[in-house]
């Protein structure tokens, strides 16, 4: 089993770390284009400050990018398993 050879902690970091970096870039791009204040056209009733919206936005982006990373990892590992299975007689 090729999958077992990659420790779980390495898989976690392989997903969480690149998605973290991309989430930073995405947050920067998104919030330089949109002011959180304008995102609530009927008044911000939650009382969350701009800094709070940035923070939540960052984690939302991180979640999305991490989900994509999990998909990539899943396909990469399962493909790898299939290729290895083909090779074996």
């Amino acid at each position: 089993m090729a999958e077992k050879k990659i420790p779980r902690v390495q898989k976690c970091i392989a997903v969480l770390w690149p998605s973290f970096m991309v989430a930073i870039v995405a947050t920067g791009l998104f919030f330089s284009a949109f002011d959180p204040v304008d995102l609530f056209p009927f008044g911000n009733e939650t009382g969350i400050s701009r800094l709070g919206v940035y923070t939540l936005g960052f984690f939302a982006f991180w979640l999305i990018t991490a989900v994509s990373g999990v998909g990539t990892l899943y396909f990469a590992v399962t493909n790898c398993l299939r290729t290895n299975a083909d090779k074996q007689p």
Binding site: V9, I13, S32, L51, Y54
Partner: protein, 471 residues
């Protein structure tokens, strides 16, 4: 200098050393030995300088405000006399491209100088290693401490180390947030326990990241997580500055007495003291050749030079060199890739400087009133209503004059007696335009708003808009 620890074997680690399942990969814990010498002094200088810049910058004042404040809550970046708005994002992007290109350029010439001297990972790891040495003692003491079973003394020492690390990390997190939120106010809020939830969160988040990366992960960040470490070899060629062991001179390695003539016993200059391995923060043996784990910190150079001096041999068995120089060929500093990087850098830097110098600190947005396309006045004129957003990006207040053109006999009415905007502020200005229907050629005619500061004709912007009529 301490006596070399083990002789006669090139095996870098002794079997009794503990193998830890550290955060990332199963591997032996690395205890880098403290090193003294020219490059160690340079690195200390770099570390102190960079840490100083990081911790002091947010406290500097400029013209009555924080000199560097990337004020996220107010959506304005203050850098010395410049104020950047979200509209200026392009400058930030250009700056990042410049930084990237500079890194490529420097890497092609001088190799991984960045990794060894300037990378935050290196800088904070050095600081954490220094704290560790102050609390736990030198390399041998650290190893002994880790090997012993947990007792009161060990617990006390370990607890002290982590407490100091955590305090230092939290201070780092506090400083980090101080770049984005006025630091004096932030400090006051910390003192009075009035810190907002988001600021608190980021101080702890960044503090925890510092503690984890510099205290626990260390060289594993470079080896497994750093993208630059993976692709830097693409910038390398045979003329790039590297740190290398001179195999021709060093081999065959072996221990010998100081008085022995190495040639007589058929040995090279390497006495195989393994000090170069002991000082290595990434735990590699430089004598095995160029390895991607090498962060070019030059600790092995210092360690080896010291030994060579003691043995009475020439220094530089491990040294800064190039692949060409090692093979006895000439090293070329100017070569196609250097020239190409330099041209790119120069062009982008020139464009960046030019556009910053030409930047007009005035913005104008024209929004048509959405409720109604046009209105006919009692006098039979066609009226259109606009909302003008005047953005004064300058630090000083200005008064502006508004002109409009595009239709013959166009009349303009404003509700405000004057257009005066304080520094760094936005003014919403409703404007009504009236035109004679006879002058309109089409249903939609282009009009041009021009806004000029009364005290400085260079501060001017134009903005196009549509004037709608019945035709």
């Amino acid at each position: 200098m301490d006596a070399p620890e083990s002789k006669g074997t090139a095996a870098p680690r002794q079997s009794d050393e503990q193998v830890t399942q550290s955060l990332y990969a199963k591997q032996e814990k690395i205890y880098p030995r403290e090193v003294h010498g020219l490059y160690a002094r340079l690195r200390t200088l770099g570390v102190l300088g960079l840490l100083g810049i990081y911790y002091i910058t947010p406290w500097l004042q400029w013209d009555g405000h924080q000199a560097v404040l990337l004020d996220l809550p107010a959506r304005k970046f203050h850098i010395l006399w410049f104020t950047f708005w979200p509209q200026d994002f392009i400058y930030l992007a250009a700056l990042l491209i410049l930084a990237g290109l500079t890194l490529f350029f420097v890497t092609a010439i001088a190799g991984r100088i960045w990794c060894g001297y300037a990378c935050p990972q290196t800088v904070w790891t050095e600081a954490f290693l220094w704290i560790e040495r102050k609390v736990e003692g030198d390399r041998m003491k650290q190893k002994k401490l880790d090997a012993m079973p947990l007792n009161a003394r060990k617990f006390r020492i370990k607890a002290t180390k982590h407490a100091v690390w955590l305090l230092f990390s939290l201070w780092t997190g506090f400083t980090f947030v101080g770049y984005f939120s006025p630091i004096v106010e932030l400090g006051r809020n910390v003192m009075t326990f009035n810190l907002g939830p988001w600021e608190t969160f980021w101080i702890f988040f960044y503090g925890f990241a510092t503690y984890g990366n510099a205290g626990w992960m260390r060289e594993q960040v470079c080896k497994y997580m750093c993208p630059y470490a993976r692709f830097q070899s693409a910038m390398f060629d045979k003329d790039t500055l590297i740190i290398s062991y001179d195999e021709l001179r060093g081999e065959p390695r072996g221990s010998r007495k100081r008085s022995t003539d190495p040639k007589a016993v058929g040995l090279g200059d390497c006495i195989d003291c393994t000090l170069c391995v002991q000082v290595c923060p990434t735990g590699i043996d430089i004598r095995n050749g160029l390895q991607y784990e090498c962060i070019a910190c030059s600790a092995c150079i210092d360690a080896c030079d010291d030994v060579m001096e003691k043995m009475g041999y020439a220094k530089g068995l491990i040294r800064y060199t190039t692949e060409n120089a090692l093979e006895g060929l000439k090293t070329h500093i100017i070569r196609p890739r250097i020239v190409i990087y330099a041209i790119f850098l120069a062009v982008i830097m020139a464009l960046f400087t030019y556009s910053i110098s030409q930047r007009v600190s005035l913005g104008l947005d024209v929004i048509r009133d959405r409720n109604r396309l046009y209105r006919e006045t009692d006098e039979g004129l066609i009226e259109n209503v606009y909302i003008l957003k005047v953005l004064n990006m300058d630090a000083a207040a200005h008064e502006y004059e508004l002109r409009v053109s595009g239709i013959e006999g166009l009349q303009m009415y404003m509700d405000l007696p004057e257009i005066r905007v304080p520094g760094g502020d936005v003014l919403e200005l409703p404007v009504r335009l009236r035109a004679d229907e006879a002058e309109l050629q089409e249903r939609s005619t282009e009009v041009v708003f021009e806004l000029v500061a009364t005290d400085n004709p260079d501060l001017s912007v134009t903005e196009h808009a549509r004037f709608l009529g019945p035709r």
